[in-house]
């Protein structure tokens, strides 16, 4: 699929908005969201964080957008045409107004690209998205040409992280002037009303929004970081919608007729990483507790045995209380670049016992499984459940959990034999590049590969994919990587994709359209018919 093909057709986002607009015309209402995430700054180009990507796009819009299947869709840029590896033409949407009444045009795009690396005391969070853009040539008000310094695999996706601002703000505009509210001028459906850090972010409807009249009169974001307080605020009616519903509460709220629950699988893979590089692994012992002089995880039969002795359906149903789906590869199969040939490992204890015995461990062995105690919802219960599953095939598994900072420091130092963690991203490429490529931080690959899985064929495919600009060809390469890593090598044991959950009071008449990035977008909320 080329960029052009990608941009053809009607975007589902526009459809969603259209529905919202019709509904909004019927009934004006206010919306209050209780969010675990609090925006740290209102400068859209300062910090590349879930907080800011959640709450700022209600006011300021991306040049391109990411759809429900994570594909890139047209937005302020309506068409991106590749001329050659270093030249892309873009058409801009016409009739788009900023909150201050000025018109969105080519100069604004050029301004944003120029501003990002020039932010006073900036962190450089967004530089990576635009580094290769050498120059933006303005053809006319709504036609531009991006001239690149080197080929980029997915320019459209990079542009989908950049929010538009009016060029009138000037190149010297500081992040502080956004936090005071003065510079928060976007093209989004809501205008900033007030921002009180730690207390609230208030927005009002922008009547001249290009996509039609937005559905809510006012929108208030209330940061409530404590899980129990957030749930309590929803039940008491203090807020209409909350994000990050805790696992145990989600199950109960689903049965509550007063509450509507919305959920979507997150584009994140939860997995077990195995020490596959050392000949003797630090936490592997024989049944008498003596160090084993071989590393059983270097044997594919042992890895496969571990993979098929986990009953993922039971894990999701009982331990996560339904808040997840069994995983087979980097992303669930609805996402492009996943292989149809990789299925969720079939639960088979007998076969696992046979494989373990065949590998030379008929009586099993002892091993310690590590995991973070406070990073993933239900994570501490998942590691215990894994130990339970593996005890069924004769392994004596000890579980040790650490708080997240300690856990990841030790993981980076490659201290574990077996560990449970997860990796989330918006593309299959980013996940595989981080967890499946041989660990090599110097070239920015395998950064999260802390079991040191390494396969030359996988590395070659990933490197090839990183410079492949044709999307279909890139997907073919990544599908093959999925097959090699998760099915043929079982170099990484896939467990599940977590489910993100939002909940709204039925009385508030709000529907939330959940997205796979786990972001809480104002535009995801629409009044219920």
């Amino acid at each position: 699929m080329t960029c052009q093909a990608l941009l053809r057709g009607t975007s589902s986002l526009v459809l969603t908005l259209a529905t919202a607009i019709i509904a909004g015309a019927v009934q004006a209402q206010d919306l209050t969201i209780g969010s675990m995430l609090e925006p740290g700054t209102l400068d859209p180009h300062f910090r590349n964080s879930g907080e800011n990507h959640s709450h700022l796009p209600g006011m300021m819009e991306y040049l391109m957008w990411r759809g429900p299947d994570l594909s890139v869709q047209p937005h302020l840029i309506t068409e991106l045409r590749k001329i050659d590896d270093l030249t892309y033409e873009a058409s801009l949407r016409e009739g788009v107004l900023f909150h201050d009444g000025s018109t969105f045009d080519a100069a604004d795009v050029a301004y944003v690209i120029e501003r990002i690396p020039a932010i006073p005391e900036g962190l450089g969070d967004f530089n990576g998205f635009i580094d290769e853009i050498e120059r933006v040539e303005i053809v006319d008000d709504h036609e531009i040409v991006f001239h690149l310094s080197e080929p980029v695999a997915d320019l459209a996706r990079n542009l989908s992280a950049i929010m538009a601002l009016p060029s009138e703000l000037g190149i010297d505009v500081s992040p502080a002037s956004f936090d005071s509210g003065a510079s928060v001028i976007g093209t989004g459906p809501y205008r900033l009303q007030s921002f009180t850090p730690g207390d609230s972010l208030e927005m009002v409807r922008f009547d001249d929004y290009w996509g039609g009249t937005p559905p809510f009169e006012t929108v208030t974001i209330r940061p409530i970081t404590n899980d129990a307080s957030r749930v309590a605020a929803l039940i008491s009616g203090e807020v209409d919608l909350i994000d990050f519903v805790p696992l145990a509460d989600a199950a109960r709220l689903r049965e509550d007729v007063e509450i509507n629950v919305f959920a979507a699988p997150e584009s994140r893979l939860m997995f077990v990483m195995l020490d596959s590089i050392r000949d003797v692994s630090p936490y592997v012992r024989d049944n008498d507790g003596e160090a084993l002089n071989v590393n059983p995880f270097q044997d594919a039969r042992v890895r496969r045995a571990l993979a098929i002795s986990v009953d993922r359906d039971l894990l999701v149903e009982r331990v996560l209380e339904g808040a997840g789906s069994p995983a087979a590869q980097a992303f669930s199969s609805e996402v492009s670049c996943t292989s149809p040939n990789v299925a969720v490992p079939t639960y088979d204890v007998e076969e696992a016992r046979r494989l373990i015995a065949e590998a030379g461990y008929p009586d099993g062995f002892q091993v310690t499984l590590h995991g973070p105690s406070d990073r993933y919802p239900g994570g501490d219960r998942v590691v215990q459940a894994l130990a339970q599953f593996w005890s069924q095939i004769g392994l004596d598994v000890e579980v040790e959990t650490f708080t997240r900072s300690v856990f990841f420091d030790r993981a980076r130092a490659n201290e574990y034999s077996l560990y449970f963690a997860g990796y989330g991203a918006t593309t299959v490429f980013n996940v595989l590049n981080a967890i499946a490529h041989t660990n090599n931080p110097d070239i920015g690959r395998g950064a999260a590969n802390r079991g040191r899985y390494s396969n030359e064929e996988v590395d070659a495919l990933i490197q090839q994919a990183s410079s492949e600009t044709d999307e279909a060809a890139r997907c073919d390469l990544l599908e093959r990587v999925n097959e090699l890593v998760f099915s043929e090598d079982v170099g990484i044991i896939p467990l599940y994709h977590p489910l993100n959950t939002w909940a709204a009071r039925a009385e508030a008449n709000v529907t939330y359209d959940p997205n796979p990035e786990g972001l809480t977008w104002v535009r995801g909320a629409t009044p219920t018919q």
Binding site: L247, Q384, Q388, S391, T401
Partner: protein, 301 residues
């Protein structure tokens, strides 16, 4: 026969039969002691008392998880107090958890007492600069809340029962040192000490056989109460996720894992271990408080 009994200047006996009689005369204190002994026996004989070995993971079935009290499991076993998120029988988990709690509480209190008593005796007996140095160190430790010291130590050491024990001993010894020193200073002024010195006994002999036994009463009281504190401290640390391994929960960790479910009507995961912890700590405190009253002349009628 003790060496002290043969001394011509034997110190007065510390624990008498009348003390026991006076202690048992208080039904509340006696009840506390009896309950504690019963719970301790249950803990010691946990493998025979508990219906299930909750630490054997092969025994647990996720299919049995989060069952309410009185349920029957997949294999026909009854879960009188329900099951936890891993399918563990709550009753068994509580008995084994209490075993861990009592073991850690008792061991850390006893070792802290031995260290603290040694430091206190040496400080009082030696006096001078050694006394000054040791007591400043004690004051430094006492200036911080026990829980804070233990928290800092645990975050340095990492989790595990052995590390938990070390952290708790390091947080508790100073209190014993201080009490021992003040008791020893009082005793050193007594006639029998002067007599012992006049007899030409060696310093070690006076320290161990004459001074130490007479400092015991306040230490016993403090030790008993400290056991209760130690059990509560261990529960707090485990509740905060810094103590015992998750597969071998103590009472504190059981309460913590149930805490996630407190708003979901699965009350049994946190309430039952909470009640058991309350009874355990109360029983020790009741006995300890009464013992303190008996041994404190100012509180006697």
């Amino acid at each position: 026969m003790t060496l002290g009994a043969t001394d011509p200047v034997a110190p007065p006996p510390v624990v008498t039969r009348s003390l026991w009689r006076r202690f048992t005369a208080n039904p509340v204190a006696l009840a506390g002691l009896v309950v504690f002994i019963l719970l301790a026996l249950m803990a010691v004989f946990a493998p025979y008392v508990a219906p299930q070995d909750p630490y054997d993971l092969a025994n647990l079935s996720l299919l049995d998880n989060l069952l309410p009290p009185g349920s029957t499991g997949m294999n026909g076993q009854s879960f009188w107090l329900g099951t936890d998120p891993q399918g563990r029988d709550m009753l068994s988990a509580m008995i084994y958890g209490m075993r861990t709690s009592i073991f850690i509480g008792l061991t850390s209190a006893v070792i802290a007492l031995m260290i603290g008593a040694t430091v206190g005796l040496v400080a009082a007996f030696a006096g001078g600069w050694l006394d000054a140095v040791l007591m400043r160190l004690v004051e430094l430790v006492l200036a911080f809340p026990t829980i804070l010291i233990a928290l800092v130590l645990m975050s340095i050491f990492g989790s595990g029962i052995d590390k938990l024990l070390i952290a708790m001993i390091m947080a508790q010894w100073a209190g014993f040192a201080r009490v021992t020193r003040s008791a020893a200073l009082v005793e050193m002024e007594r006639e029998y000490m002067t007599a012992a010195r006049a007899m030409g006994f060696g310093r070690m002999r006076i320290l161990v056989l004459h001074l130490f036994p007479n400092c015991l009463p306040p230490l016993m009281v403090l030790g008993l109460i400290q056991i209760a504190d130690a059990i509560a401290l261990e529960a707090t640390l485990s509740f905060l996720g810094l103590g015992v391994p998750v597969t071998e929960p103590s009472l504190g960790l059981l309460i913590a894992s149930g805490f996630d479910y407190i708003l979901t009507q699965r009350y049994w995961i946190t309430i039952f271990p909470g009640i058991l912890l309350l009874i355990l700590v109360m029983s020790v405190n009741l006995a300890g408080d009464h013992l303190r009253n008996l041994l404190n002349p100012r509180l006697q009628k």
